[in-house]
Symmetry: C2
Subunit: 398 residues, 2 copies
Amino acid sequence: MVFKKVIPMLLMLINGLGIFAQQSLWGGPQIVSPEVHDNHTVTFRFQAPDADTVMITGDFLPTEKMNTQWGEFDVPGKAHLQKGDNGVWSFTSEPLESDLYSYSFIVDGLYTTDPNNVYKIRDVASVFDVFIVGGGKGDLYSVKDVPHGTVARRWYYSPGNNMQRRVTIYTPPGYENSRKKYPVLYLLHGMGGDEEAWIALGRTSQILDNLIAQGKVEPMIVVMPNGNVAQQAAPGESPKGLYKPTMQLPHTMDGKYEETFPDVIKFIENNYRVKAKKEYRAIAGLSMGGFHSLHISRYYPNTFDYIGLFSAAILPDQKVESVVYENIDETLKAQMDNGYELYWIGIGKTDFLYKNVNDYCAKLDSMGMNYTYVETEGGHTWTNWRVYLSTLAPLLFK
Amino acid sequence: MVFKKVIPMLLMLINGLGIFAQQSLWGGPQIVSPEVHDNHTVTFRFQAPDADTVMITGDFLPTEKMNTQWGEFDVPGKAHLQKGDNGVWSFTSEPLESDLYSYSFIVDGLYTTDPNNVYKIRDVASVFDVFIVGGGKGDLYSVKDVPHGTVARRWYYSPGNNMQRRVTIYTPPGYENSRKKYPVLYLLHGMGGDEEAWIALGRTSQILDNLIAQGKVEPMIVVMPNGNVAQQAAPGESPKGLYKPTMQLPHTMDGKYEETFPDVIKFIENNYRVKAKKEYRAIAGLSMGGFHSLHISRYYPNTFDYIGLFSAAILPDQKVESVVYENIDETLKAQMDNGYELYWIGIGKTDFLYKNVNDYCAKLDSMGMNYTYVETEGGHTWTNWRVYLSTLAPLLFK
């Protein structure tokens, strides 16, 4: 009876802790959640025999209004799951546009993750479940059977911050086996983000792999630094340990990051085979990273030929004393006079920064400064930022 | 009133989805969970005003017996949280030995993750919350203020599997800025694991960074391949998409991985500055990876000078037809005759493989084959495998 002896051994080999694993092996229904159907509807399932209500919330549902002391904001909507046999609740969505989506369950009022979905992404201080609906732009965010670049987490010394800092670097397929020099895109995250944001939620490596394979994007290195000068690295990746992340409001938009940004450029140009010239440097960022990209490209007005502002956090009322934010008009003028290939601005129609960004465009108009303006549906979301990266990347270094 | 206008804007900048983030900003208690105290007790908190019972289970609690159709197994124990003010339940552990631990909550019978802990690790098909208790070996698993190596996720072509395969590679601090050649440790995961396992739960990069900084470990490259030949990459990292992971039982211990292992060695030796000689090659693995290490080092009996078997899955009853498993005694004898520096075997006293590993040791004894045997408390757990790596690494390449 070799079988009888070997099977439990093989099962035990599966892992050392294995509570959930053992549960699913040794009883309980095999639940699939989420299940993406061919018609682009998605079924979510949650086993909760004794629950009174099970709801789901996520960015695939129509937004709702939320009242706060600061006014009304759009937040992701909610939907009720229906109780079925065996205590398994389920909900099937409308057909969804191809994309990557996030969600959470709410069981009797408690927010919880999906125990049947191992694909979770941290966004700022929260962890969400994610899924991809293919057949459109979601395919761009998926790992396909194409040559893959390398993603490295590396540390460099920033003299300006007197700090070892962590950076995520994508090198394109073939980088390691050529003598070629490559252009570089510096890709900056938003407030609360870090050097993991563009890889995790931004799907940078998938987007680049796929667009390079399609011949639409010039093979390039993508550098994703940490834009919070108070941090050495993402939460959990620094000597601060496994602390509860905070929103990183201090020292994020006070000029220090812009001032010390040449540290990361120098590190990259000294350590990678790159074309270290303005026409082969791009900088783009989302929200706070758009703010950073605006100011870095202006403060060093002869450094970047490609600038991308994604839902840029342009805050005209902000009063911060920093040499970086002095003489904004003069340095913008210098940037314009020095010339550049592309100044790309993307904003969603319902973004709370819509007016600020359009006011900034009016300012650029009044200066006679060239730019490309792209307006999309939606607001201040990763859905838009992935689209902006996918739209901008093919325009770089051409 | 600049303040009034800017604050909500800054809050909105934090992220695009932000349900949880908005909740914690706009009301609700600020819960810290887990909270590791100076005396090494840990308090866990969970907000559930309407729950009847909240429990916690994890590997920091004494094990319990679980009855299955295959017999009785040790599983992590459970403890009750007590309901306090504001509907926040809490539990404080006994003082814990310094280590990295995993846990989940059980709310009215439902397993759930900790919404206040962003540090989650996937183990096979489940996601757990983790925390570290410092002041001992947990310090070795923590990011410290020391020089850090680089961790790269890279793809290589395996002719033997006719497949692009993903591999995780740790290069030690200074690798990129020297002309030095380095020794290589091939570090193999267990059943259900993949090329992420040793980095995520094994804390390989932290252990290596810290032991190298202490001068206890020779700077080395650590290669963590994917040992499931049916997979190109970890779940979610291959063209199979975001599928529900299965246990990967087929084609994991059928000889194919061992047969095609030279593909990854060739890739590393052609692409990294390594000392491509037997005395600078080590191979070690946990559970199924221990099985693989045993058979790879024996089947290529003049390739590795250092072999590490961590809770190795030695299954004498297994009947698999593969050239790899023929003539086991003869190839072991050849390995012995060719010589090696270290054959290291680690096993926990309560590991279900204890007898198998000790029977294997008796076999080695009968052959007169030298080995180092280390017996620890505990069973088939990551707690032991991190200790085994920390114990073996200082012995390599000396």
